[in-house]
Symmetry: C2
Subunit: 218 residues, 2 copies
């Protein structure tokens, strides 16, 4: 098992960053919560995924996804460049490792928004990451939310709901559960998890400030 943050921050003025892995069904409001947290909290960055699917109008390369070719993606798989990847229908999706490690080494926390299967892969392969599930208040409410959007066919909504159902059964695999009833409350909750995890003694014991304090009282 790879231990995140093994390569130490050279001067240890800052603690290593933390990897926050966030999952939750489509339509639950994940993106809005994460976006606000990224705007409000310093030293948190978002891990942009790679995909081979076509860029849609309005999507920006490097912001929404890194859009790569099938050949590039398969080369990256062979070179072990992904923390996790998956093939969904005809397209690949994956989390590039470099950016995650680089930021964590520099003391930035990294937010990963991936599906449950991807989260479980990360959980099995890395220690030290934190797993957060964002759930709707109820399955009924998720159904209503997806219908209200009005942008998708009944068939597509059904497929999303089936996927959501499967995903929700994996909640017990996650350490934290945020039930998104109120956007502001959920933003506060995700922020609280980030702030609290930054205060764990085990994480900060080696930073200069704490080491100095412990030396003064020795």
């Amino acid at each position: 098992m790879k231990v995140l943050g093994e390569s130490q921050n050279s001067e240890q003025h800052l603690a290593q960053g933390i990897l926050f892995v966030i999952s939750g069904p489509s339509g639950v409001g994940k993106t809005s919560i994460i976006r606000s947290v990224l705007e409000r909290i310093e030293h948190v960055v978002f891990s942009v995924s790679c995909t081979t699917r076509k860029q849609r109008p309005g999507e920006i390369d490097g912001i929404d996804y890194y859009f790569v070719s099938h050949e590039q993606f398969e080369k990256m798989i062979q070179e072990n460049k992904f923390i996790e990847w998956a093939r969904v229908h005809d397209n690949y999706y994956g989390t590039p490792a470099d950016m995650v490690y680089e930021n964590i080494r520099k003391g930035f926390d990294v937010i990963l928004d991936i599906d449950v299967q991807g989260a479980l892969t990360v959980k099995n392969n890395f220690s030290g990451a934190k797993f957060i599930f964002i759930a709707p208040p109820s399955y009924e409410i998720l159904r209503e939310r997806l219908k209200k959007r009005g942008t998708e066919s009944e068939e597509k909504i059904q497929r999303r709901l089936e996927t959501a159902k499967k995903e929700l059964t994996f909640i017990p695999e996650f350490e934290y559960l945020i039930i998104n009833e109120d956007l502001e409350e959920s933003i506060r909750n995700l922020s609280s998890i980030i702030f609290a995890e930054r205060l764990r003694y085990e994480r900060i014991k080696d930073i200069a400030k704490v080491r100095k304090l412990m030396e003064e009282v020795r």
Copy 2:
């Protein structure tokens, strides 16, 4: 070992409350931080200690302490009414168990502000409590803060500093470390720990809302 919250909240609409044990040297700013958190966060209560020391002007019985006689205190010890107690010089100090259990059962979080020895006693006797240390940015700064107060003799300040030194060596026994550099930041940090701990799946899996969600997707 006694597991906190064994006696279940009858209807399970709410999660059990959490016991937050807070320690830190005198002069570090603990009281201001805790007071603000109690004002700002709902469903958090403060555990008032019992003491046999004399009530000082301005202190209110039942708010600052429960002031009891030596005889009453010793009877309470015999009746096992304390989570932890200590004799300091000629006086007893103790945390009454009833109020802590009652609130936790009702779903209220309880904050305990006790010395390091008391915290270690709680740690050895109860599972599920959360331990938070509030430290000064440096030992030098603590010294300056105590001197600036100007209300105490040099001798008394020296004694407080010696005690503080001993207490700070126990920081590694605590799960969370808040370094009080800025009051607002420390209030936010303590609040974040409380909110984050409330989101742990293991704590909330049995509440009605979560159980219902899991049943819907079964």
